[in-house]
């Protein structure tokens, strides 16, 4: 039984210009212990998917349909209080871009984490503070620093704080949204290594959202590629990188430099991402696809399981 | 070349109109405003009775509303409804003219300070600070009583104290415009400062000036009504504030002459409200910070 089972999720945004079909019928699963990399260009719907799962969507968003099963409970069906008390932090938590404004500048970092712990667990304030100190050690920060304010930390250290915060109530699933994008390369490597270690140590399952394929290659055993609100390919990371099947994925991987491979130039995918208010008919990628056939502009492709665990959504697969 | 510029203007005006139409408050404000403008412009035609000090009906002093005098009469027997209609003309005129003065001073100070910077900016901003600290109404009271309470003096007095907000906002806007490269390039090809200001800066700050002006008209009318209420208005130009002054002075509060008290206040509130709504709608369109949210 999968840890997370998303079925036919549709999230639209009501804007002045019309309805933005940000997530349009997306389905996938995660098993316990998986680390799934959710990749795609800006605006492809990966963050919206995460926000939908986490029930953190802005007020103009609407979840039209779909089910999100976490530990066999449909998150979209339970009420807010239940979600807040039982699901948040205890089953599922989120790692934001710490280098930005995710930490409240007027509170000490330890207090912010402790607030989350005390909301979900019936322990004393002192015990919670002890746990905060332990968490800091776990993520590689000196425990005494829990008394400091966010502006006293560097970008990488803030990211560790955010990670500590996400782990504070022992969740089953951690969703990380571009956790290392704003950091420089050396710090990136450190944080990614930390996340790998924690995953092993604590048996965490993870969704890593990023547009940077190298991050996925480093930390995730499975990869899902999204394009224009649709899931176009889902497979083990090795399969994605070694034998991508969807033309879009192939385009992405082709531009992924390889140290041992031959020298070659960039071949960017022509065109630009579509308008999500009125996306192209049929397969959303067809205007940019070099293999497009007649049917591609008329019908949306079905999802086909090519080999065990390798799903592709493309007319070429038939 | 010229033709496409005009087309560009027409297009942006049309776009502005569409955006404005979306604001319910803006439309309501516009409607109320137009209603009062109409009533004021056609006051002579619409008013049932004349309002000269000697033209009152001696038999109908301080009477409540009746079929003859729809809104009752004042202490000189004059018809309240007519007083209101004529008063609108005075109040609106004072508000608009005073705001013109405010806009001119504010623009001059703000744009000059923002554009030239350095010493000039410092001196102008200090000058602005002085005016900012002096409480507005007491200053107007002092000036009005020293200069004498006439129609034109009131316009002057109101106009020369409200410009500080506009000056500051415009200076900020000009400062951010200066960052944009087209000013640099205009300078580098040798355009004179005056030319740059007139051709580049003013057109870009014009929407902001208009939005500011709309808001200031409302507060100018309020200031005028306060001054008139305190007795510093011009008796020969009966504004709504003056009417309220006389309403209070004949003891309407204690004798319950509600028809004397309520209509002028309602009119002032509605007119200022209309400008506030219009200003609010304009601000939503012109102010980029609000748009992002």
């Amino acid at each position: 039984m999968p840890l997370l089972d998303i079925q036919n999720l549709k999230t639209y945004f009501n804007t002045r210009g019309g309805k933005v079909k940000a997530v349009d019928d997306v389905s996938f699963q995660i098993e316990r212990g998986d680390a799934l990399g959710l990749a795609g260009e800006s605006g492809c719907g990966k963050t919206t998917t995460a926000l939908t799962i986490m029930n953190l969507l802005p007020s103009n968003a609407e979840v039209l349909s779909g089910k999100v099963f976490l530990n066999d409970v449909d998150l979209l069906a339970i009420d807010e209080e239940m979600f807040r008390k039982e699901v948040r932090m205890k089953q599922m938590s989120m790692v934001f871009q710490g280098a930005m404004n995710a930490l409240n500048p007027v509170f000490r970092v330890g207090d912010q984490i402790r607030q989350g712990i005390l909301t979900h667990e019936d322990i004393t304030k002192e015990a919670a503070w002890e746990r905060v100190r332990e968490l800091f050690s776990l993520v590689g920060i000196s425990p005494d620093r829990a008394r400091e304010y966010p502006h006293e930390f560097s970008g990488g250290m803030k990211q560790r704080v955010i990670i500590a915060m996400a782990l504070s109530c022992n969740p089953d699933l951690v969703i990380a949204d571009e956790p290392v994008t704003a950091l420089d390369v050396i710090i990136q490597a450190q944080i990614l290594e930390l996340m790998r270690d924690l995953r092993e140590k604590l048996g965490l399952s993870m969704i890593m959202i990023t547009h940077d394929l190298s991050v996925i290659a480093d930390t995730c055993n499975k990869t899902a590629i999204m394009y224009a609100g649709k899931l176009v390919e889902y497979a083990s990371s090795i399969a994605i990188f070694k034998s991508p099947k969807h033309p879009y994925t192939q385009g992405l991987i082709a531009n992924f430099p390889s140290i041992s491979g031959e020298l070659k130039g960039f071949e960017p995918i022509s065109g630009s991402p579509p308008n999500l208010i009125s996306p192209p008919n049929g397969c959303r990628f067809h205007p940019r696809c070099s293999y497009a056939m007649g049917v591609c502009s008329k019908e949306e492709p079905e999802t086909v399981e090519l080999e065990r665990g390798h799903f592709v959504s493309c007319h070429l697969m038939k | 070349m010229q033709k496409s510029k005009t087309q560009g203007y027409v297009r942006s005006i049309r776009k502005f109109g569409e955006q404005y139409k979306e604001s319910k408050l803006g439309l309501l404000g516009l409607f109320i405003f137009l209603f009062f403008v109409f009533a004021s412009v056609f006051a002579e035609v619409l008013a049932p009775y004349p309002i000269g000090p000697t033209q009152g009906d001696r038999n109908f002093i301080l009477k409540p509303p009746s079929s003859k005098y729809l809104l009752g009469t004042d202490e000189l027997g004059r018809d309240m409804l007519s007083m209101i209609l004529y008063g609108g003309k005075v109040s609106l005129t004072i508000g608009i003219l005073a705001t013109l003065i405010t806009a001119i001073i504010g623009t001059l100070v703000g744009v000059t300070a923002g554009y030239f910077g350095g010493r000039t900016e410092e001196i102008l901003m200090r000058f602005t600070d002085v005016f900012l600290v002096i409480p507005g109404l007491p200053l107007m009271i002092v000036l009005a009583s020293l200069l004498g309470a006439t129609f034109w003096n009131m316009i002057l007095v109101i106009g020369i104290q409200g410009w500080t907000g506009t000056a500051r906002v415009l200076r900020a806007q000009v400062l951010s415009l200066k960052e944009k490269l087209f000013i640099e390039s205009a300078r580098s090809i040798g355009a004179s400062d005056t030319r740059i200001i007139i051709k580049h800066i003013i057109p870009n700050v014009l929407p902001l000036i208009v939005a500011q002006m709309v808001l200031r008209i409302g507060s100018s009318i309020l200031s005028a009504s306060s001054l008139s209420f305190l007795g510093l208005g011009d008796p020969t130009h009966m504004s709504w504030g003056m009417t309220l002054h006389y309403a209070f002075s004949v003891g309407s509060l204690f004798s319950n002459f509600y028809w004397y008290l309520i209509p002028p206040g309602v009119c002032i509130t509605l007119v200022v409200l209309s400008f506030t709504f219009i200003g609010y709608a304009l601000d939503q369109i012109v102010n980029p910070r609000i748009r992002e949210r």
Binding site: M54, L56, S59, K85, R88, M89, S93, M94, F96, Q97, N101, A102, L103, N104, P105, V106, F107, Q112, Q115, G116, T119, H120, I162, M165 | L25, V130, V133, I134, G136, L137, P138, L139, I141, V142, L143, S145, L146, L147, G148, S226, F229, L230, G231, L244, F248, S252, L253, F254, N256, L261, I262, P264, G265, I268, T269, V272, L273, T276, F277, Y280
Partner: protein, 327 residues
């Protein structure tokens, strides 16, 4: 230690600036009353005097001397605490003003407290339920209060509650003929008189402050750390009253301190409506009775007070916002 040093810097810098402003105000005040059209002697004494008396007074008051000498004498008098002599009351201006300051301060401060509390509560609710029915109705209410003449609102409230319903007294700050056995009966008498004027100014001044408060709060709501708070599973109430309020303290304090100056104007008209014996009513009487020395002195005192209030506000702000201390 750093705080004391920093504060010292703020006080010195702002203090010097305040003194400069006061000096400029004095100059303006002096020349304002001299340059205006009209006879300076008549202004100082009475508009209607004979020619011989005028000449005597001219010499006596030193008005025939050159302008700069007059100015120096003026400053000298000011430094001695002499702000002029009221013609109508035949008493020093400074005494008249000081007598009435407590009444005005009582009215202004009590009403401002109401304005601030209401604005924050309404602003919080409106911003939290942005676009909702409450937000729209509060915003319209705020815009309406912003547009209504405060003295008219006062008049209406007075008419309804005091005249028609007889619930509150109509004039003044206390009942003149009442003998009070103890301090409590005096306080309750004053409070009884204070209520309507206080509510008038309190509610009337909401408009601007509510709108600015709402905007500041909207800014905070859109910050990333509020999303983090939600992800942490904190309840809405906790987020609003614990997190957001803490973040809002700095911008709100700024708003509260800086807007203090705007309410002074409303005091003049409100005191007139309610015959509240404060500085505002004094100015009104001075204008009506053409008592120019009183007007000039009172105006100068008011502007100096405004500069001092501003100075105080900036010092307090310097304490609240550490960044200011390092400028």
């Amino acid at each position: 230690m750093a705080i004391i040093l920093g504060m010292g810097r703020v006080i010195a810098k702002r203090g010097v600036y305040a003194i400069m402003l006061i000096f400029i105000m004095t100059i303006i005040n002096f020349f304002l009353f001299r340059i205006m059209p009209g006879d300076p002697v008549a202004m100082m004494v009475s508009p209607s005097i004979t020619a011989e008396v005028r000449q005597i007074l001219l010499t006596k008051f030193g008005l025939d001397k050159p302008m700069h000498i007059q100015f120096i004498k003026y400053i000298q008098q000011l430094l001695k605490g002499n702000f002029g002599l009221s013609f109508v009351y035949q008493r020093p201006v400074i005494d008249l003003v000081l007598e009435r300051v407590p009444n005005t301060v009582l009215l202004l401060l009590s009403s401002y407290v109401i304005t601030v509390i209401l604005s924050i509560i309404l602003g919080l609710i409106a911003a939290w339920r942005r676009g909702g029915k409450l937000d729209i109705s509060f915003t319209i209410f705020g815009l309406w209060m912003h547009s209504m003449p405060i003295f008219w609102l006062g008049g209406l409230l007075l008419l309804f509650f005091s005249v028609r319903l007889g619930l509150f007294p109509v004039i003044g700050v206390s009942t003149p003929w009442l003998v009070h056995e103890n301090i409590f009966s005096y306080i309750s008498d004053v409070a009884h008189h204070l209520f309507i004027p206080m509510m008038t100014l309190g509610i009337g001044n909401i408009g601007g402050m509510f709108l600015i408060t709402r905007n500041s709060l909207l800014d905070i709501f859109s910050e990333d750390y509020i999303l983090t708070a939600k992800a942490l599973g904190l309840s809405n109430r906790t987020i609003l009253f614990h997190n957001v309020l803490r973040n809002a303290m700095l911008p709100l304090s700024t708003i509260i301190l800086m807007r203090l100056g705007f309410i002074i104007g409303g005091a003049v008209t409100t005191e007139t409506v309610f015959t509240w014996p404060g500085v505002g009513l004094l100015i009104y009487n001075a204008v009506m009775q053409e008592d120019y020395p009183l007007l000039q002195g009172a105006f100068l005192i008011i502007t100096i007070s405004a500069v001092l209030a501003n100075f105080l506000a900036e010092v307090i702000y310097g304490y609240l916002d550490p960044r200011v201390r390092y400028e």
